[in-house]
């Protein structure tokens, strides 16, 4: 059995760079969607390519943009190999995807601002709406299950989720606008 030696993360510039950029890259991948193993492979390949090409020596914003571009290419290549299509047709267009991510991605390009704003907005939700969101996003994306749990109709769940998402969108946009 062989275990690689442990390294001090702060001491290795590559390790520190990967630690800094992998969060934004992973978030971008989750946005593109797919099986976890598929996304992990892409993340690994993209980070490895970045280090091998010396992208880690470039400014952070440029490196993050390069990573997103590479991830998008790897994502599309992976889908082609699997002979599948992206969940949304628009996801094939790198420019549109980059624009959407840039709009909510904040100045850092990692999406941290969006997540912080979203976390604050979710915490402000009414208990019932929070339960519906929890059930839908954490447990199962099935309205009939949520309807049974909350004791309302499926249509009721649909309406509640739509309104809650609208509220969250407005809240997040306000927060991000205020912070910028």
């Amino acid at each position: 059995m062989t275990s690689p030696p442990q390294t001090d993360r702060a001491a290795d510039p590559i390790e520190a760079w990967v630690a800094q950029h992998q969060r934004g890259a992973w978030r971008y991948l989750c946005f593109l969607g797919g099986e976890r193993t598929f996304l992990e492979d892409i993340l690994q390949d993209a980070l490895l390519a970045a280090v091998e090409k010396g992208i880690h020596q470039k400014p952070d914003r440029m490196a993050a943009a390069w990573l997103r571009g590479t991830i998008h290419n790897l994502f599309l290549m992976g889908l082609r190999q699997r002979r599948t299509q992206p969940a949304l047709r628009e996801l094939s267009d790198e420019a549109s995807v980059a624009a959407a991510f840039a709009e909510y991605g904040g100045d850092s390009g990692t999406g941290d601002e969006l997540i912080i704003a979203m976390r604050a907005c979710v915490e402000r939700l009414a208990p019932r709406a929070r339960s519906a969101v929890d059930l839908f996003y954490r447990v199962a994306k099935r309205r009939d299950v949520i309807a049974t749990e909350l004791g309302i109709t499926v249509e009721g769940v649909k309406t509640m989720l739509r309104r809650t998402k609208d509220d969250l969108r407005t809240c997040v946009e306000n927060k991000m606008e205020a912070s910028s």
Partner: protein, 427 residues
């Protein structure tokens, strides 16, 4: 203004991350380690290039070229004038060739161990001319070395292997001579917890035996390989997966036999569903660890319940000692049925399953051999029921999350569960 559908998707992804937690892979150490040797090599290459440049500048290249040319000429004339027997002997394996694991079959244990060291170091480095591992070195690497049983099998040993293949209904996949070359069976545990079984044969490139030979020389990605076993379409039923060996004590191997999926003791099927339990699991007769975390919710419908009427499935599930179902593949209504089928369970991971309730806890209390339990994030189980875990005789580690509990409830837990309690906070 960006596309509304994409904005919607981005919001969905953000809500999911906030509600579920990020749970992102940490590749920093892996990437740094995988590229470290490459970086060192690049530095060394530069230094050598500088030395060569200075050598050229001193004007000695002409002299060196003249000398080399003379030597080559002499050697060429000498080789041409040798009798044919000597030419033949020059083609015999040479000690130096041992260092190319792609071409040379090891002749004894020492050679084999040398190769093993090379392979393992290449593996740890993450990339090499032989094993490209996409830069993801394993965090744990177990290996078996095949010697005696793997040399071209004749006579009794071959009969044993053939019998075993036939017993598995593998008449069509009778082993060819090439399948019995010396090799190493690797069981790699990757950074993200997944494991990969594969075989390296020294006289060829790395291969994994599945429903067809998958040449993973170019890409050692577990998702592609293990997916073949856990997935729906191409689980190998009768074909050797690798080699199991009689004993690894001191690397002495007496016999080698093909390994079947049925020999796999650990399965991590992150994206599985009902069909895996219904149609596949019965083949893994030696299974003791099954991790179905983050699987589809459809697991709850009738996947395990069917085991009640299928003895072969029930037998496999009853032999499980570790079961994982993080992220909600089990529903409370089914948890009792499912856990009731696993009386030998020693470790149970049901973290982040907020839909589980008191029914699950009742089932857990019935598991007489349970030692480790993770219920962190299971906010659906009422605290007054959780306290009942103190009466479980064998439970040594209980993981809970403090979320949703009052200060009084937390201290009550800490009092009643003592050292066994481990608080898990969300990342």
């Amino acid at each position: 203004m960006s596309n509304p559908a994409l904005k919607e998707r981005l919001l969905d992804a953000a809500i999911t991350e906030v509600v579920q937690g990020a749970d992102m892979p940490d590749l920093a150490t892996v990437i740094a380690r995988a590229t470290a040797s490459e970086r060192r090599r690049a530095v060394e290459h530069c230094e050598r290039a500088q030395q060569r440049a200075s050598f050229w500048n001193r004007g000695r290249m002409q002299l060196a070229a003249l000398l080399l040319g003379s030597i080559a000429l002499v050697v060429g004339i000498w080789a041409f004038t040798q009798p044919p027997e000597d030419k033949a002997s020059a083609g015999q394996p040479h000690e130096d060739r041992v260092h190319d694991p792609k071409r040379v079959v090891p002749r004894d244990k020492e050679e084999l161990l040398q190769m093993l060291e090379q392979v393992v170091s290449m593996q740890a480095r993450g990339c090499s001319s032989t094993l490209h591992t996409s830069g993801q070195p394993p965090v744990k690497l177990d290996y078996d070395i095949g010697m005696g049983g793997f040399v071209p099998v004749e006579g009794e040993a071959r009969d044993i292997v053939l019998k075993r293949l036939k017993r598995h209904g593998g008449r069509k996949q009778q082993p060819k001579r090439r399948d019995f070359a010396p090799g190493i069976r690797l069981v790699m545990t990757l950074k993200n917890g997944r494991t990969l079984h594969c075989l390296i044969q020294f006289n060829r490139t790395m291969r994994v035996f599945a429903d067809k030979d998958i040449n993973i020389r170019g890409d050692l990605k577990l998702g592609n390989v293990l997916g073949k076993f856990c997935g729906l379409s191409s689980l190998p039923s009768q074909v050797a997966l690798g080699y199991v060996t009689g004993s690894t004590d001191g690397h002495h191997i007496d016999t080698g036999e093909p390994m079947y999926p049925s020999d796999m003791p650990v399965l991590r099927c992150y994206n599985s569903n009902d069909d895996f339990i219904r149609e596949r699991i019965e083949r893994f007769t030696k299974l003791h660890t099954l991790d179905m975390s983050h699987s589809a919710r459809t697991l709850t419908e009738d996947a395990f319940v069917i085991a009640k009427w299928r003895p072969e499935i029930r037998k496999v599930i009853a032999g499980l000692r570790t079961f994982g179902a993080r992220g909600g593949p089990l529903a409370d209504a089914n948890a009792q049925d499912v856990l009731g089928l696993m009386p030998k369970l020693e470790e149970l991971d049901l973290a982040n399953c907020p839909q589980l309730a008191e029914g699950t806890l009742r089932a857990i209390l019935q598991l007489a051999q349970l030692q480790r339990l993770d219920l962190s994030g299971c906010t659906g189980i009422p605290p007054e029921y959780l306290v009942l875990l103190k009466d479980h005789a064998t439970l040594a580690v209980i993981k809970l999350s403090p979320k949703g509990l009052t200060e009084g409830q937390r201290s009550s837990f800490e009092r009643s569960l003592g050292d066994r309690l481990h608080w898990q906070t969300e990342k």
